[in-house]
Symmetry: C2
Subunit: 403 residues, 2 copies
């Protein structure tokens, strides 16, 4: 008998039919004698519907009231799932944010969970009851409703697993787990059995939308084993665990990509200390997320070229900010918004020599030009022309034995 | 400066556009310096949508969880209205059932409000803030969410008016007020300026859906002046007040009708004590609401005929229960489910002789046959053939000077 936290995302509870599938999963867990705390998201589309209502009134909807509004979505799912379990003769109860309570640091729209009261729920679990908790929310010490950011139900699940000292935390979603690359694009993509927290974080930041990053971070920090699995199949999912526990036979775990990038080069920038800061400070203040930065010394050795990538939506804003920036001098700004980023990720990369060379050679073999490179301990990203993206992913997937 | 409770029903807050109309009404009240507590219903259709979701899972949805589910509807409206007020630079705040808290007697689906904490909200009102309270709900002393029955937002409004000692309680809805009869059917129907609690109760029980009956009862008990008025026009509404304060120039205030009735006659029932109890006890246990009951002695003086009316939906169930009832003997059961009820209501009837006669004469003048009669102190109802209903209302409306 173990204590499990099961989290069900928006698509898993998107209809009452699906909520009843979720109830059957919990029924099975109960038949094994496991103690179950279920964390639920709002029904798919519901949070967006509520946001739309608020935007019909104003785009600057009061944050306190937006949290009151949005938190209703998970409340609805909690009640429906609880009712579905009781229909199956399973003892179950929804616990709203204030009934537990879940205490947060009080920021609206972006709170962090600080603590929860465990006694009542632990007693209820001991008595054989399933506890349903709405994800994504809590209350501040002043008794205001506070939400914890989009995708926050993952964070609630991990926090509950930690605070209730659960044996495992299972993230139920609409895919079978984490894949070596996008299975919709590359049919030979394979489900990964185990992946380390670090690798998962790199994949998440590269656009794999399986789990919210900050939840993975929290799990890593407290060494809480996660499993991502499908609500709609019985297949095993992907375990996200400490890398010491993973037997790495492969240097590369997955190939990720994002197609939403643009490359900007500032040609002929004065080469002196502080220039980079002068360039990037105003961008950061304007909430523009700069991804890769490469600096080359130019031919005259007094100026340099600085290349960086941003999200495609931010290109014109970025150009304007650079033009308005009186602190920098340069010859010209070149932009290319038809680029994409391909990354290989793997905790085994650190100990495998030649991965970098192998990647560059593979791309060169199929005639793909690399426009920029960025590396981290467990990740290697390159920027290439957007039209090469599919070929690049296929080639790398094969090169690193992932097919 | 007065303290007002304003209640906005489902159609008044049915869209974000309408919620902004409501915000403007409150803005006007604030510009007059009035202290405002607003009670809101769920957006029109929302509660039914939520009930439908629960019914997709089971028709016997757990009552505790149904209350958690349904209470989310008013929470959404509270947040939206509060956000709309803040957009107009009006200090405002939603107060959820547990934040106040609103304490109920703890019955699920059918609770009564026992008390509320007033200090925090009174302080907020003193500081110039508008308090938005979700109608239809509260929490039990065990901290469970409890709702107070359909239309319960009216009851919340009256309870808030009483507990906060408000100067008035205004019920905003989608009609201009209470009418002398159905304005959709009878174009000469007139809005009533003032009506007594008793009359309003009679009209409500006869199908005028302007206000929930138990809310009117509470207002009567504590002498809380109500006003029913339209969210969408500036016209004066109908005041519902103590009858001592009404100057009755007319004996009859309104003509009500219901078309959903059926008449059942049990012919030749044994005429001895306890027979009526034997007939009606099983019906009551089956939740069948018996309205009018008439008993005639039949020709042989040993048996009697008992006629009563029920809702049309209950006819076949009623016949079956009568047939299964071994405690009664009778010759036959005759049913007529093409009947309707017309009533005249007026606190002035008590002191005006001849109202009964005048009604019967009026109907007889237009050739309408009366099938059954029932009277109370301020109401006179008759059962007639359904196809006569419109003619009957028109005739009575004219006869009693209501045009």
């Amino acid at each position: 008998m173990v204590k499990k936290v099961l989290k069900f995302g928006g698509t898993s509870v998107g209809t009452t039919e699906r909520i009843q599938i979720v109830a059957k999963i919990i029924q099975k867990e109960r038949s094994l004698g496991n103690k179950i705390i279920a964390i639920v998201s709002a029904m798919a589309g519901k949070t967006n519907d509520l946001i739309k209502l608020s935007e019909e009134i104003t785009n600057e909807f009061n944050k306190r009231e937006l949290d009151v509004l949005l938190s209703s979505g998970e409340q609805v799912t909690s009640a429906l799932l609880s009712g579905a379990l009781i229909k199956l003769n399973i003892k179950a109860k929804s616990w709203l944010n204030w009934q537990i309570p879940i205490l947060t640091d009080g920021d609206h729209a972006n709170s962090r969970i600080i603590t929860m009261h465990v006694e009542k729920i632990n007693k209820y679990l001991d008595d054989g009851g399933v506890s349903i908790i709405p994800g994504f929310q809590g209350i501040s010490k002043f008794g205001d409703v506070t939400t914890i950011g989009r995708g926050g139900s993952d964070a609630t699940a991990v926090a509950v697993a930690k605070i209730f000292n659960a044996d495992s935390c299972e993230i139920y979603t609409d895919v079978d787990g984490v894949f070596s690359t996008d299975p919709n694009k590359i049919p030979v993509a394979k489900k990964i059995d185990s992946i380390s927290y670090d690798e998962m974080l790199e994949l998440s930041s590269l656009g794999a939308k399986v789990m919210q990053s900050s939840a993975v971070q929290t799990a890593m920090m407290y060494d809480i084993p996660l499993e991502v699995r499908s609500t709609f199949t019985e297949r095993k999912g992907t375990k996200i665990i400490n890398k010491e526990k993973i037997d790495y036979t492969k240097s590369v775990t997955g190939v990720a990509y994002s197609k939403n990038d643009a490359k900007i080069t500032i040609v002929g920038v004065e080469d002196r200390p502080g220039v980079a800061a002068n360039i990037f400070e105003p961008l950061s203040k304007a909430q523009i997320n700069v991804d890769m930065v490469i600096q080359n010394i130019s031919s005259d050795q007094k100026t340099t070229d600085i290349t960086f990538t941003v999200k495609r939506d931010d290109v014109s804003k970025t150009k304007q900010i650079l033009k308005d920036n009186s602190k920098i001098n340069y010859k010209e700004i070149i932009k290319n918004d038809r680029v994409a980023k391909v990354s290989i990720v793997g905790a085994g990369m650190v100990t495998t020599p030649g991965v970098t060379y192998k990647m560059f050679r593979a791309l060169s073999d199929v005639g793909i030009n690399i426009l920029a490179i960025s590396t981290s301990e467990i990740k290697l990203s390159v920027i290439i022309q957007e039209n090469n993206i599919l070929q690049a992913i296929k080639k790398l997937h094969t090169t690193f034995d992932l097919d």
